[in-house]
Amino acid sequence: MDLYGFTEGIVRWLVGIISYFVDWLGFHGFAGWIESPGVIQFLTIFGEALIVFIVGFLIAITMIWQERKTLGRLMDRRGAMVVGPAGYFQNIADGLKTFLKEIIIPEKADKKGYNWAPVIIIGSSVLLIGLIPMSDRFFICDLDGGLIFIFAVFSITPFAILIGGWASNNKYSLIGGMRSAAQLISYEVPLLLSLVGVVILTGSLNLGEIVRAQQESIWFVIPQFIGFIVFLITIVAEVERIPFDLPEAEAELVEGWWTEYGGMRFGLIMLAEYIRGYAGAAVAVLLFLGGWSGPFLPPEIWFLIKVFIVFFVFIWIRGSLTRVRIDQILNIGWKRLIPLSMVNIVIAVIIKSMGWL
């Protein structure tokens, strides 16, 4: 049973109860309308989105906890450990605290941009959850161009960062926004080129098709190893984690483009960052590490295990490396990663034309 059928069952049951009561109250027309197929379909899609959003939210919270614990161990301390089992509920306590803070808008900020930038960032990040299939039965949309759509949604965020950095009317935040745009120019090209090898080998942009192709042959991390490395480096830049977190360099720019954001906005942007981290790790798993394939356990569990392993690598990178400079990231992007991804495409074309996969 897939997610749609499951949700439809729940929705039909609830709607049945509601329409029974409404009918008993005497509104026969309304009771008939509420049971019509269009309404059922709309409510089912709504419920599906709700389920997937809650699951993604829980994954993001778990990732924050994982990051705190692992980073603590890498720094020879324990991380959060007081609230809840192994400090798991510390994030929820922090989240509640950010919600209780006063909302402060800088007096000379550009109100429209200042208020809309976090909305765009959080909205696009949450949209990413809905685009990622967790298995061949747990997904919302099964688009033919799903892979490209994920990166299209990813690429909205630098625009919002630039707007937010400008609208805060603060030099630090403006520099952070500018760095975000400059970084976008350097990593977006090798990121999309490193995907081409996988797409050539599969012949499809559909994420389910890509995973099925890996189940039939071999995980693409082996024939596409260079592409995997390029993808891992650029996806870290895409989700703005530490070696490439130039827009929010704490040491130089206070807190970068979100210096002026406080309270609830800060908390939600923080959550959106981790949702993007989840999406990046999930795309790495889907494209190169076999997606949800694995023995014994249910496919969703396998998918989550792989995602958390990839995210552990992200945390490890964060604990080990220092931040690169803005000219260094341009050099890395254009002089190292683009030639490597071109080599990767050539390898993919050779493998495909020889018929080895």
Partner: protein, 87 residues
Amino acid sequence: MEWDLLFFLIFAIITVAAAVFVIASKEIVHSVMYLALTFIGVAIIFFFLSAEYVAIIQILIYVGAVSVLMLFGIMLTKRRLTGGERI
């Protein structure tokens, strides 16, 4: 009522209104924000016409790249921060 028609009308109104605001707004950065909203609205209308690929490429190129480059160009030219000194 057809659900498709209702949502099409909602998104069409948003798109056209945003396109009007591109011209009407005083602040040039607001114009670019409305322009991005127009691009997203057009992409959603492409989805309604079941042209998925065009819609996705519309978002990837126009919202992700063209708007950012426009903002970059606006912000790199000399202009006044609202109520602040020139940067």
